[in-house]
Point group: D2
Chain length 359, copies 4
């Protein structure tokens, strides 16, 4: 008999490959199970392997249940499990707006600031330096997820106030990390954009809360998250009705201790081929080494990123956290000048800030 | 002149290696900075490199600040950053008690149950099967951290009630995952042990709450967490005054897609050499492949684990989650018999349950 | 129209998933290309994706050429690319014989010896200690692949002679590493088994030569090799007509620096489910830490390994290489006793040596 | 007593940290062992740990032997183990010349060609396309290291002749891979530059032979090699008196299957900070996905690479190997134009070829 496939008018989201030597009875059982899940099964037997095509609404297909069917060796999803984040489903690229700054569509975010929010004078000084250098969003952490319970944990709400004041003084929107679902509402009151950090990328409780907030979100890739994992976490936020999501590649776990992480630059064009959401890079956390940051920031832009997130500090030695990876304001200004030139070559531009509160 | 070290009566928690070619002025600056942090600095100059030994209370030494000092190339901590979890500081091994089950000190935890809590009849049936096979703690998730927002997210408080009832019926203590700091108090009311899952291992907000609860905690290693990261997360819980922590190796991220994760078996004896806390293994999540679980469970015991966590289901095909990696009750019973024999060979035993509610 | 698959009497080694939105013309082109490769193509169109099943002799299907066809998004091989190594194709498990030692089929290899061959007296002493402890194959490297050109590179042919003499004196077969295709014939003259080291696992020139030699081969898994890569390397040897191959899990690259590598214990049962070839473990290289080796050796046996490879040295401090990971002869003897007990529990035994040259 | 370090006129290449609780006798033993290795030991005792500084010629210090001393917990090398490759030792950056092409010092290599050498007409056509687009070195493999023994293994010497002829026709120098130490002399006769592939990066026998040849070498980073491993492999070649070495970042092993490897872009500026040798990138192998190659090539230049290696093919569908990752000549020409513009912005230029054999 001849094996062949015929046309169909349905999608084909999943293919099952059955184990070698399944009996007719087992095959019947597989078909029964598939049909009991309200899916259609289409059988193809070969000498070595039998294959079952599954048809149904792909957002409803329970992959785990298919994988668990006795006799199934492999389950191959044909379509990706994210929908709202998918470029295929939404071919128009998104532009996310944070204050007056546009991220995406040729418009670049230049996010800069210290790791932690520190005292008001320093924050004002850093906001001024950042804006003068060309940054358009000011950052600083008031709630710090630290590996050690003995390390500085952030200034909390007091820090939010200081950050807001420094941003306001120089007419810059601000972004800050939120780590606790109980604080989302509070942080939203002070910040223009909520950051979900790498360690919380799969804190689904938090993702749901920032999704509900409707606020712009900077979603950082987890250290061992695949690109698809990142898109699934974005999907959590999007599925709450919040489409203001910017993705951030900030380094993945690697085996070489010479850098803090591995800066996965190929994730930038890869994400651009899979999703309509803007993508920025964070070479500060990706490398953890100041002398590697400028090269990696430029590489990020050249690879197509919609912005760059960099930690700066005027006195790294006294920074409350992550001092070793901060650029000095002057180093940042030099780099920003190169980024401006590169952006122009690429036909992009740094999203401008209003001239008010001129500096 | 000759380089040498003299005795001292202080600890030496940190060594700084300075950059090649640092000037005298830079070296003076390093010394000044170290002293401004209330630490003592001890200088050693070589032809190629100058080295500074730092003395102080190691829990107070700000490693980041040292790393940020201009002229410093490398900072080498001599002592580990965890204290309460350290075997060196607490040479007596801990035994954690969950209900009447003892974990550690030769007494093994046999945790079994479905991935998700399901309907009451099934949970009762599974609790009975688990207990009959030799399990001494029953598990089931009421709050499920799922990669996709479209997947089943757990039954919530209703699930907690079902789990508790099933455990009570067969006199088994129960463990369940908590994912939201707002739910810790609620989960504590129903469960004998709180699980912090791999994705939340560095959710420090959650760690702090489970620490405050004083309840026994099953802390799973994150997918890209080093053994030291795991111990630092345990330290978060311990530093809240809760010493009832059991660590769990459940697989780390790897490059081979044939298994779900890489089961890092060497972490078991490694942790035993570093901490007094009990360590168990979870071959279900480590491999994600039922046909590999029995071999890996036995390997875990042989490597010195204080228990084994395994997912079971009587109908994996209809499981609400993770069906594909569940063992059938009979498979679990067969494995449990082998574990009992291996435990005896190792001079250990499965912690017995009270004969009440005999089955 | 309805999509479905019909029976066929051919195998179905490969499925192509076409890109979203391929035109009819592109689909025709795909079919043409497939047929020009002397393969049969079977088309199935869905709303979202079109799929093409490929039929042909799977050893002849050029996966790369299929992947390169314009319009093809994904190529999914249904059958594994190794044939001779496959358990499916050769359901009878192989037993490899080295001298009188049998590896596989319940018979365990206990390979022990120093990293490098050293002076004759020490080698004799170590062979004696190893045999007395229960080892049945003696090892030592005469050609050492060292990361640094400044490190000791081995004694060469002189080392082979010393190794052979030490083995002969205590009636033990010997295994040693070969690193140069020009030396295979030479090494074969002295050794009972040829080791291909992790760094040479994909040195296909060398694999081909050891394949031609017909000599038993100990093939170590590369540090970043998947289990399938390892089987493909075995296939190189087997395809030269040499079926005397023993696989060795010796640790893969990981991110945690506390161990030298990650001991991928699950590879042991995984390999047992995929291949008929015997599998042993090397906890010395997998961990690089003597205090972790005994636990990991026992774990290896518990997971089903057909043997254990361990480095020993009577004076690790003066070893020419890898001293830090060597067990002392007495530590090895203590471990061997535990391995013997565990083997008995598992219904296996250490392959006995002839009583000649009794010790 | 007070702990301190005094000046010395020697280097301090290594620090030993002793185990907690070492006895005086053990410390004396450590000192004895260090001195028996003709090194000087300098002791510093603390409350928690005792430390020993080691002084000697760092190229002669046997790290392994130090690590093996009873009582030693950790060995910390202060200076890197590579000397000839080190920027610190040779602050003048090297320029490697291949034919008339200069690599390094602002002069970029543009290496292009098919994965495998194919028939003469195609090779001529591809050489012409490559040169017209702006490539300055032509590549093609005559000896292919393939994962499967059933895949095309290359045309051998016939391929070398075809490659040479195609290069000569368009006045381009050629680079090709050598995989067998027995073939180095042969390949040297035809090629201007020898490639050592990723799988052979630690094939020290081969490194030694290409070192002896004195020919320019393109050394690709292994899939699980650290940056230091790569430099140590370069050191093998350099230590044979051959300083014509160009390093190539071509992707490391990662956990995400959406790309073939992880393109470790930060390795480019990191290598530039450690070595005087030129560094190029290979986005073809790093990503394995044609649609990601242009972005990653530009990122490589922006990060400071001294050249880019890209696989091209006019008919990827019929390529003998790696067709799926090849760019079409027109895609390469478009990319080359962008690379030229970016090079100009960076103050660099593509190393020009002689106008002879104009095209």
């Amino acid at each position: 008999m001849v094996f062949f496939f015929l046309r169909c008018d349905y999608g084909l989201p999943v293919i099952l490959i059955l184990k070698n030597g399944v009996s007719d009875q087992q095959i019947d059982h597989v078909i029964d199970r598939v049909e009991s899940l309200d899916l259609k099964a289409h059988l193809s037997r070969g000498t070595f392997r039998t294959i079952v095509g599954i048809i149904g609404d792909e957002t409803e297909i329970p992959i785990d249940s298919l994988r668990a069917i006795v006799g199934v060796e492999q389950v191959i999803p044909v379509l990706p499990p994210y929908k709202l984040a998918s470029l295929e489903a939404h071919p128009q690229r998104s532009v996310v707006q944070v204050g007056e700054v546009k991220i995406g569509g040729g418009s670049l975010a230049m996010i800069a600031g210290p790791c932690s929010v520190e005292e008001p004078e320093r924050m004002e000084h850093l906001a001024k330096s950042a804006r003068q250098a060309g940054a358009n969003i000011f950052r600083g952490g008031a709630y710090k997820p630290r590996t050690s319970p003995y390390d500085f944990q952030g200034l909390g709400e007091e820090g939010l106030k200081i950050l807001r004041a420094a941003g306001d003084k120089y007419a810059m929107p601000v972004v800050t990390e939120v780590t606790d679902p109980r604080n989302v509402e509070l942080v939203t009151r002070y910040a223009d954009m909520l950051q979900v950090g790498a360690r919380n990328m799969q804190n689904f409780v938090l993702l749901t809360e920032v999704g509900k907030s409707g606020h712009p979100v900077l979603l950082k890739r987890g250290m061992s998250a695949t690109v698809q994992d990142l898109l699934m976490s974005a999907e959590y936020i999007l599925s709450q009705g919040n489409s203001q999501v910017v993705l951030c590649e900030r380094g993945i776990k690697g085996f070489d201790t010479m850098t803090r992480n591995v800066f996965d630059i190929a994730a930038v064009p890869l994400l651009a081929s899979l999703t309509h959401l803007p993508v920025i890079v964070d070479p500060s956390h990706a490398t953890g080494r100041p002398h590697l940051i400028p090269a990696c920031a430029l590489a990020g832009l050249a690879a197509g990123a919609d912005g760059v997130h960099i930690e700066i500090h005027d006195q790294p030695e006294v920074a409350r956290s992550d001092g070793p990876q901060a650029l000095l304001p002057q180093q940042y200004a030099d780099l920003a000048e190169k980024m401006r030139q590169l952006a122009a070559l690429l036909g992009k531009h740094i999203s401008p800030l209003n001239a008010e509160a001129l500096i």
